[in-house]
């Protein structure tokens, strides 16, 4: 339709930004530059063919009919037919080549942005909301598909048509060209105003559509609560309000376009009235031929239509520019945790030492960790406990180099993790997050996330290592069961088992565990617990603990409070000390069964 895009003031590109964006687009499109040039040539050819038509009609009328020369008329007709057929051939080619250029560009863009996103460290994912990043890769790039399929072609063709038509008209008759141009300023002014108003109207509609969809979705997903509290009427009343707001914004955007299209329609007819009136007078004076007047009435639309098209496309092009700008920002973001040029492989085993580290999350005011030092020996189990937000998870993350500390270092077997190769780091130290996160695909596919080269036997062995062979054998397709989106086909406990099997597949020396806060269903909980125990056996383990049972099994306990290690020792030592830990242990005890 007439308005497929819009751009907010803050997203609108400055002239300099626009130049950079265009430059980078051409650089990215370099691999298929040839296709692009062919496409451009085809657009030129088609445009010329479109303009040749009225010219040939003029020639036919003036030389053939008025000059009473049937042969000349036939020549005009023959050439016209030829031009029409050529236009068809080039028309097809321009579609194909332009689409190929555009779609190939979008493919390259998708791959580049995704690759760059994947190179980023965790800090990047903390700063950017997941929803926004997904939108960059999907909605933002898809919004350009429209432009690629239609817009680019129209934009090029319209621009060329205006230039060619003006040149042509001027060579036919400068007097009539001036007449035709009399209407142009009004048309251009109206188009500019329309483009601004419709942009604004479009943005409002887009917001309201979003709000309305959310209200709709919320109503449907929360229907049980709404019915349980008998609030149907109230909810419908609220929805109706948002729905009417949406209607009003639609109505407004129609009104914006109404007067514009009315003016365009009037402008076209009015211009031909002028051409006929003044052109007729010029014919009487003998300044122009009748054929020229006829050609002018036919060519007027070649001048006016493109102006209209350009104004409608302007918003789409601008929003594409804004989207590209945001995507380029992602491409420019430097990954914070990256492999050092002189990186070495970590040794097979060693002590994990945290040495006086300070760490502040980017954008945060307070330090998450402050001069923390701690060491974990080979095969030792360390439990990190403490209040929410005190820094225990942060410490665990730094010990696996998901972040780099600002001050101090984390080393393994005497080598600073910053100096280690990424591959040896991921083989030596594995993080198992709170909840088993599953990807689309089979259980086997999900294990291969940990090691893409693993064969079926190795995967079977990993499942056996955590003692889950029997459990997964009961599934309809065993390990080849499709887990569906986010593993929705499996229970939370089963998902956790898969996550543990992944770790077993890597067979790391160090495990970093984030214990789940909420309970699993009682049935699988025991199995997960059992799998964890087998996995932990013989490895160095750092666990962010939420349960007494876990803490009691650890060799040492570190209480993290206010970004520092507040207490460190064994369970018995800390209980005897009667400090923070003993208070925490007492609270835990109380929340279990009341005896």
């Amino acid at each position: 339709m007439w308005s497929q895009g819009g751009v907010t003031d803050e997203d609108r590109l400055s002239r300099a930004q626009a130049r950079t964006v265009i430059g980078r687009v051409f650089k990215m499109a370099a691999p298929f530059r040839k296709t692009m040039y062919v496409a451009f040539a085809c657009v030129c050819a088609t445009t010329l063919c479109a303009l040749a038509g009225p010219l040939l009609v003029r020639r036919g009328i003036d030389l053939g009919i008025r000059g009473n020369d049937p042969a000349s008329l036939n020549v005009s007709v023959g050439v016209y037919l030829l031009v029409a057929l050529i236009a068809y051939v080039f028309g097809r080619a321009q579609f194909l080549y332009l689409n190929r250029t555009g779609e190939s560009f979008l493919r390259v863009l998708r791959l580049a942005v995704f690759r760059q996103m994947q190179r980023q460290s965790m800090a990047f994912y903390d700063r950017n909301k997941a929803g926004v990043l997904v939108a960059r890769m999907t909605a933002d790039i898809e919004s350009m598909a429209e432009l690629v399929q239609w817009g680019l072609l129209q934009f090029l063709a319209a621009g060329m048509l205006i230039v060619f038509a003006l040149v042509l008209l001027a060579t036919l008759s400068w007097q009539l060209t001036i007449v035709a141009l009399l209407v142009m300023p009004i048309l251009i002014a109206a188009s500019v105003k329309f483009q601004r108003d419709s942009n604004k109207a479009y943005l409002t509609v887009r917001d309201r559509v979003g709000a309305n969809l959310s209200a709709l979705q919320e109503g449907i997903t929360t229907v049980r609560v709404i019915q349980a509290y008998a609030q149907e009427e109230e909810t419908i009343r609220k929805f109706t309000k948002s729905n009417r707001e949406l209607f009003k914004s639609h109505e407004h955007s129609v009104r914006v376009s109404t007067w514009y299209f009315a003016l365009i329609e009037f402008g076209g007819v009015f211009a031909s009235a002028l051409i006929i009136g003044i052109g007729g007078w010029l014919v009487h004076r003998g300044d122009v031929t009748l054929g020229t007047v006829v050609a002018f009435t036919l060519l007027l639309s070649s001048l006016f239509d493109p102006v209209q098209q350009l104004s409608q496309l302007y918003n789409t092009v601008q929003s594409a520019g804004a989207a590209l700008n945001k995507l380029f920002q992602i491409l420019d973001a430097k990954p914070e945790v990256d492999e050092h040029p002189g990186a070495v492989a970590l040794p097979l085993s060693g002590e994990l030492v945290v040495n006086g580290i300070d760490f502040t999350y980017s954008g945060a005011e307070n330090r998450a960790l402050q001069s923390v030092s701690i060491s974990v020996g080979v095969g030792e189990k360390l439990a990190l406990v403490g209040p929410t937000g005190a820094g225990k998870s942060t410490l665990a993350k730094l010990m696996a180099r998901l972040y780099d500390p600002q001050v101090g270092s984390v080393s393994y077997g005497g080598i600073d993790l910053k100096m280690a190769t990424m591959s040896s780091l991921r083989e030596r130290i594995v993080v198992v997050p709170q909840e088993g996160f599953l990807f689309n695909g089979t259980i086997r596919d999900n294990l291969r996330i940990a090691r893409s080269t693993a064969n079926d036997e190795e995967i079977d062995a990993a499942i056996a290592a955590i003692g889950a062979t029997e459990h997964f054998a009961t599934l309809p397709d065993g390990l080849d069961t499709e887990v569906r989106e986010r593993g929705s086909r499996l229970s939370a406990g089963e998902r956790q088992l898969v996550a543990l099997a992944r770790a077993a597949l890597v067979d790391p020396a160090v495990l970093v565990l984030d214990e789940a806060t909420s309970n699993l269903d009682p049935g699988t909980e025991a199995e997960v617990e059992h799998a964890l125990e087998r996995l932990m056996a013989g490895r160095t383990v750092i666990v962010v603990a939420h349960r007494l049972s876990t803490v009691q099994r650890a060799d040492h306990i570190a209480v993290i409070a206010d970004a520092q290690v507040a207490e460190y020792g064994t369970h018995a030592e800390l209980i005897a000390k009667g400090g923070r830990y003993s208070a925490l242990a007492a609270a835990w005890q109380k929340s279990q069964v009341s005896r």
Partner: protein, 601 residues
Amino acid sequence: MTSIESDTEVAARLEFEETQRSEGWRLLRAALRLQRRNLLLGALVGILWASFKVAVPQMTKYAINDGIEKNGPLLRWALIIGGLGVLTGVLSGMRRYIAFRESRWAETLFRERLFSHVLNLHVGYHDKAQTGQLMSRASSDLMQIQGFIVMIPITLSNVIQIFAVTAILFLTDPILAIVALIPLPFVNLSARRFSHRIHPASIAVQAEQAQLANVVEESISGVRVVKGFGAEQVQFEKLEKEADDILRESMKAARIRSSFMPAIDVLPALGLVAVLGVGGHRVLNGDLTIGDLVAFNVYLTLLIWPLRNIGMIVALGQRAAAALVRINEVMSTESEITDPAQPKTLPLQTTEPVGAVKFDKVLFGYNPEFPVLRNFSMEIRGGESIAIVGATGSGKSTVTRLLLRFYDTQSGHVFLDGIDVRKLKLSDLRKHIGVVFEDTVLFNDSVRNNIAFAKPDAGVEEIERAAKLSGAHDFVLQLPNGYETVIGERGFSLSGGQRQRIAIARAIVANPRVLVLDDATSAVDPSKEGEIRDAMKTVMSGRTTIVIAHRPGTIALADRVILLDEGKVAAIGTHDELVGSNARYREVLASMSTPEEEKVN
């Protein structure tokens, strides 16, 4: 379809689909009848516009023949054409405005009816329905219908225009008319075929885009796993495959476009070639004036857009019909749980405590062949608190759903204060039962409005009192805007325990006769749980409370315990009594405990 249908089954299905379709059209007609005045006005405007539009080339012809060739009153002709410009301009604006406004209005009303219908459908329906499906009924399906309605006035004026132009061409010169018009029906045909073929192609592109979105979404949500295992390359390869698929499908669509669009452009040009060739010679022979020839040219260009549009409206109509069938499927579903014809009212609160609940020989199963509750009877006195304990799948949560009348029993009765719940108005019944569900649902709204959900006019004190009782007050004050902080999916994100505490406050504000806590504190930080339990005792005193216990800790809240086993009440008594006397109870308790406690035992 893998199953083989018999002839009668096929016949029945086809007949069903046929009724659905005619029902769908009936739905649309009924909706449009409400707007018939404006739609008729739109049609009238469209017809007028078409007539004036057709008159323009006619006047151009006179201007050339009379004004230019014969030296006639040129100015008069120019003024007439200019006047027609004003008329067509105004009318085309009006036509556009009416068409769009009316179609949007129809869409708006449709959406409201759909929403309120869905919201009042019984819970059993929602168990089976998918949110995404219902969403697309109310969004993309309604868009199809809107797209169709908008074309009604436009198509009408297009048809008039085509007839008028054709008539004029034939009146001017029948032979030239035939020659010029031959290529044009193909414009219509191409447009129609194009619409049919591009639709599935663009759907295929969308499907591929959705798959790519899945890969992106899971790579970003699961970034810790990807990073933790260095699986970037694995995910990149998945993405590359999806990006290649998009390119392939997009190029298929591009090929379809490239084979139709230029053809649609070229066909009218062939008509113009024919006019110049055949018409030119007829002018030379004196059978036609030059003015006529030029008018012919202009008329042919006037036919291009109407023919394209009419080609497309066929496809639009078919899509709208399919959308209507899907919408009608929802709209024709009746709610299975409705208000009784002559509702009774609950007895007023007297000195006797209210909130007595009784289940009498209840038989119920979500699938009637597999009953969840069998011959289930229990009685809870007004003001009493009771815990329902049972293994997973024993039917604990089902009890709540029957009390709320989310479902009706297959046999047996449920009573609230001595009145069968089926004899009460639904809103009456439900206003007196406050449930905190197992999975906490909050609305995308302020904390205040979430807590006051059941009672939108609740005062500040009432809301804060409820929040204090549920242990929410303290952390709410810490939120950026306190009670005005917007929470929920798109708002400030709260922890599981915080969400549950807000849900408890919501139930407290409702001030129900019966309070149901379905595993209400499962996600609360263990160190806070004790605090909340203490506060809950205040809320529960003198109020009937049903605690659905998933964990041993919550049992302590209740006076008595009901052990549910295989859909029946297996034992009733205090916690201590049951621990002492009932082996099954001890078993169930043990299965609920955390492994650490197992070891202690």
